[in-house]
């Protein structure tokens, strides 16, 4: 029962954060959206930042699930890299709101109350979603350091494309974000094969 109510609060909070942003949202507003008396939310969370942290944690679990699902049929490390990279890219391409949610953190805007431990856990889960790419690059012969560097560059490239896609700016170039991302992955694999990295 409590868990059902907690889920109800999170659903309402997601809608409120989407509408008002983390700064504009308030416990009162979230309570209203959840159909609770103002304040009843405090049974479940002690601040809107704690709710935000819970939402982001859930989102990152969904991301990790998506990444974990792909790859068992991959014939080699190159195919695995393509599958894992596409998994997180597609997750955020299909769910722009999840990207918004995640990027409050990535932007370095640390909501008050998201304590250091929680912040570290959330960043850790984001990194977990990228680690299979890192692992595949190592299997292709890259050192740990180079694999991390290339995974970071891959993520940066993907996030840049997602940003262009979600804001509609990609139309300015008449390009397709997914095709460009796939092309980047192919290019990355080519550079690995030719030992340019």
């Amino acid at each position: 029962m409590t868990d059902v109510r907690r889920a109800l609060v999170l659903d309402a909070a997601r809608a409120v954060f989407e509408k008002l942003g983390i700064e504009g949202a308030s416990i009162r507003e979230i309570a209203r959206a959840a159909g609770y008396t103002p304040g009843a939310i405090y049974f479940y969370y002690d601040s809107k930042e704690a709710i935000y942290g819970a939402l982001l944690a859930e989102s990152l679990e969904r991301l990790n699930d998506r990444v974990a699902q792909v790859g068992p049929g991959a014939v080699d490390a190159a195919a695995l890299l393509e599958a894992k990279a596409s998994a997180w890219f597609d997750f955020y391409a299909d769910n722009p709101r999840e990207l918004d949610l995640g990027f409050y953190l990535v932007q370095g805007m640390r909501p008050r109350g998201l304590n250091a431990t929680l912040n570290e856990q959330l960043n850790g889960r984001l990194h977990d979603a990228l680690k299979p790419c890192e692992g595949a690059l190592q299997a292709l012969g890259l050192t740990g350091e180079a694999a991390l560097r290339e995974t970071t560059a891959l993520f940066a490239h993907g996030v840049g494309l997602l940003l262009l896609k979600h804001t509609g700016r990609i139309r300015m170039f008449g390009q397709d974000a997914t095709l460009l991302f796939d092309a980047y992955v192919i290019g990355l694999l080519e550079r690995v094969r030719q030992r340019l990295i």
């Binding site: 409590t2 159909g35 304040g39 009843a40 405090y42 049974f43 479940y44 109350g113």
Partner: protein
């Protein structure tokens, strides 16, 4: 007149849980944790919630710790900034008297069933029961509590959410308060008396909060 706390007649006042004071306080982590529990319960049960902060020009004690500050702010309560040790000397009693609003009659879908509801006290009476916790127990807190008693409020001291730098001072404060007519309680007593029944819609949530 019941001997139990009544959520509809209560207000919660949290005295001086200030950033630069708390590290010196005996059992401060437990004390803060209980104050946060009380604040969350009050906010959830629509018990008006207030705070105080001791101001001084020389040795600033800082604002209330953020976890307490954000609940008071989120619940729409005010923090009284005071120069006197007793918050009453700086206007706390006026803040606690009406026009504090009662829970609106009629309730909503999540209110208690009709047969469990108590008749709402008359509007003009205000909420005369002050549930009080804070630091230091023998200075600002004690003086505030004694002044509230003097002002004829019913004062309920939540002992496990109060402390001083030394245990001895804290206990002396409790003795003195008990001798002057304050009721000494604990966080759990407050929680279960505010609820009254395991049939309360938020019984499980309250249990989770207290554990």
């Amino acid at each position: 007149m019941t001997m139990l706390l009544d959520a509809d007649d209560s207000q919660l006042v949290l005295v001086d849980y200030q950033l630069r004071l708390m590290p010196a306080i005996f059992e401060s982590q437990q004390v803060i944790a209980n104050a946060v529990r009380l604040a969350r319960l009050a906010a959830a049960l629509q018990v008006p919630l207030w705070g105080t902060e001791q101001m001084s020009e020389k040795a600033g004690l800082g604002p209330n710790v953020p976890e307490i500050h954000s609940i008071i702010e989120g619940a729409g309560g005010r923090v009284l900034q005071k120069m006197h040790f007793s918050a009453v000397a700086d206007g706390l009693a006026d803040m606690l008297r009406p026009p504090v609003r009662k829970t609106p009659a009629g309730g909503n879908a999540r209110s208690l069933p009709k047969h469990l509801q108590k008749p709402a006290p008359a509007e003009e009476e205000g909420r005369g029961t002050i549930v009080l916790a804070g630091c230091e127990a023998h200075v600002c807190f004690l003086q505030t509590a004694l002044d509230l008693l003097q002002e004829e409020f019913d004062v309920w001291v939540v002992t496990d959410a109060c402390s001083s730098r030394s245990e001895r001072n804290r206990d002396a404060a409790f003795d003195r308060l008990a001798g002057n007519g304050a009721e000494l309680v604990t966080t759990e007593m407050v929680a279960f008396e505010w609820l009254r029944s395991a049939g309360h819609p938020f019984f499980r949530e309250t249990l989770a909060l207290i554990k």
